[in-house]
């Protein structure tokens, strides 16, 4: 299970740069900029799939594959376990349903009791539709906002967006980006690995600062 991790200081600094400053850089470019990572470009889903398997087997942890659409089976190629969104959505749905039922019961049978249609005050049957609807409502909100939260979105900017080539990840190109914060990251070795994996172009990505 891919449990959400507590964000590191450097990750938090991406969101609130005015509050938190990043630690010292492990790698810097000749121009003195902090290195975000190495970006390798591929032409086809198959090529990036095999590259991902290679990177996974090398033992990298902080890296990602970028593709215009979800590649089938990429979770296996990258070694990503299942995520916890189903658990979150179930929790959201059940909370919504419970709240919906309690709300109706309290309003009808506790706070202001009125005889309607000669039924018992707390008859549960007429509460079913709204209980269900509110369960669905909260589950849907959890699905969208839970997904965004786990993905660290919304986010204003990202070092990768500075790369002109990277913009084609939304069109027809595929990228592997290994980040400098990975323990195994090394400018030369990682670059060689990407070349070996058949990348058509390899670039160093600088950080925002």
């Amino acid at each position: 299970m891919d449990l959400p991790k507590i964000p590191t200081r450097d990750q938090l600094a991406d969101y609130v740069p005015f509050l938190i400053k990043k630690g010292s850089a492990k790698f810097v470019t000749p121009a003195g900029k902090r290195v975000h990572g190495i970006m390798a470009e591929f032409d086809t889903p198959a090529a990036v799939y095999h590259a991902a398997e290679l990177v996974r087997d090398e033992g990298y942890k902080v890296w990602d594959v970028y593709s215009p659409f979800p590649i089938h089976g990429i979770d296996k190629a990258m070694g990503i376990p299942r995520n916890i969104i189903p658990v979150m959505v179930a929790t959201g749905g059940l909370s919504g349903a419970a709240l919906g039922f309690i709300m109706q019961y309290w309003m009808t049978a506790v706070d202001y009791r009125m005889v309607v249609q000669g039924k018992p005050y707390g008859a549960w049957e007429p509460f079913t539709p709204i209980t269900f609807e509110l369960g669905v409502l909260l589950a849907a909100f959890t699905a969208l906002f839970g997904m965004l939260m786990l993905n660290g979105l919304p986010r204003w900017n990202h070092p990768l967006f500075k790369k002109d080539r990277f913009l084609r990840s939304s069109d027809d190109k595929f990228f592997v980006v290994i980040e400098a914060s990975d323990a195994k990251f090394d400018l030369r070795a990682t670059r060689d690995l990407m070349t070996k994996a058949g990348a058509t172009n390899v670039e160093v990505v600088e950080d925002d600062e």
Binding site: P129, F132, L137, A143, L153, S170
Partner: protein
Amino acid sequence: MSSIHPDKSVSERLAGLAPATSRGVGQDLPDIGDGSLVEDPAVRAPLVLNNRSFSELTDIVCGYTENKPGKWWLIALGAFGTVMGLGSMLILYTIITGIGVWGLNNQVDWAFDITNFVFWIGIGHAGTLISAILCILKQKWRTAVNRSAEAMTIFAVMCAGLFPAIHVGRIWFIWFVFPIPNYNWIWPNFRSPLLWDVFAVSTYFTVSALFWYMGMIPDMATLRDRADARLRAGPRPRAVPFLPLSADRIRAFVYGLGALGWRFSSRHWLKYETAYLLLAGISTPLVLSVHSIVSFDFATSVVPGWHTTIFPPYFVAGAIFGGFAMVLFLLIPARELYPNFKDLLTLRHLENMAKIILVTGMMVGFAYAMEFFIAWYSANEYEADVFVFNRLMPPFLAGADPDHPEAVRYAPYWWAYWAMISCNVISPQVFWIRKFRTRPLAIWIVSLLVTIGMWFERFVIIVTSLHRAWLPGEWHMFYPTWVDIGIFVFSCAMFLTFFLLFMRFLPMFALSELKAVTPQANPHPEHEDGHGDHHGGDAAGHGPQAHATPGHGGKGGH
């Protein structure tokens, strides 16, 4: 232009390896239309025609929002926008004067308002149905229509929500429907289906909007990146005089806000896919529940013609039926008007939807028949009377009443009932014939008829049941006023205006899903048997995908 020759592969398969005659086994091969209508079970019909590459798909879909639309778009927007603007005055008139400006009377106290509400909410069901149920059933062809169907859903539910809101008359008391206590600290009545309806429709609107928006996040990111790339390439022409704003700068900003910083990361995609599938999963019972609850508005009453247990499934089937008809009604013209639209929305897509229209049309027809059966079987004379003498009986068939030979009983709204039957039950029957369900014009005409028929269905259920309930002394006919008609026309114009704006400014296709169903998206092309050169006669097993798109199946592998 097309390099697809499914016709050839069909003939090759039927005749073994011999490329001799194209009609080898002595039977006429079916017409394959644009290439998507292949009937050979070993040939998977292409979902995107003309072997479009990823970047071509991006260009086509983004082009719909980035290029200037044709003149037709401006003319249509101007026309519908004007009608919408004028029509909104009628809503103001209704609110200021009161609902006495409608044709309602003491007996028929729901008429056009609730008819229109149920009509629009029904149309609003196809979008989420296509997105949710077809998504769960792994029906890949949904990618061609899901985005526009979802947009249609949102706009239809907006139209639907309007009518109950204004039909309360004193709209400033509409807060009575929310779970807040009124002046006397009394809460709303949670035992009323009308209140269930409020929760169902508002939940449905919210969840459909979330679903629609979530699907558009990656596509808005594509539009953002394209605008950004053009901005980086050099200065762009100004969109407004005197301000340093180009259309692309506005696009990069607005789509950028909508895309929430989406960057096409696979780790994000995986969570996105999980969340999307779950949203589809919870939307499926939601779709079914919403129209069931709408039907409770009627079914829980004791009015003959309303008090029917078949209503929930009957309403849901009718909603799917009417919704698909509206999808076709909108997309068949769009298919003609936009360049390359036919590559993405193939004849097979239309045929599939025509089949759904046929099936759901017969389900609706079954429900109509079942109402008569139950009216007879229950031995409830009021029920039977409603169905025969309120709905069915045209004047030219009506016999004389034995007790009052001078009075000839017939159903005053017989024409509405028969309009419903001929549009909803009879007209889709043409789809038994393949020729009709593969001709866009024929499908469009049927979809128009079905849309009309579905409006009449709601009119029949609501007005004819009410106008002659119980005591003959209370019987009243309903005649719509010009305000009734005007507000209905307004809702149609509003629906079409919003849809036109959607076509212009938002991605009309789910681009990432469209790319993912193309053969070149397969990360394991080497496992796909029969790609590349030897796609001729070998086997029924894996060949199909490569058959449909030779040359592309192997692209990734080399």
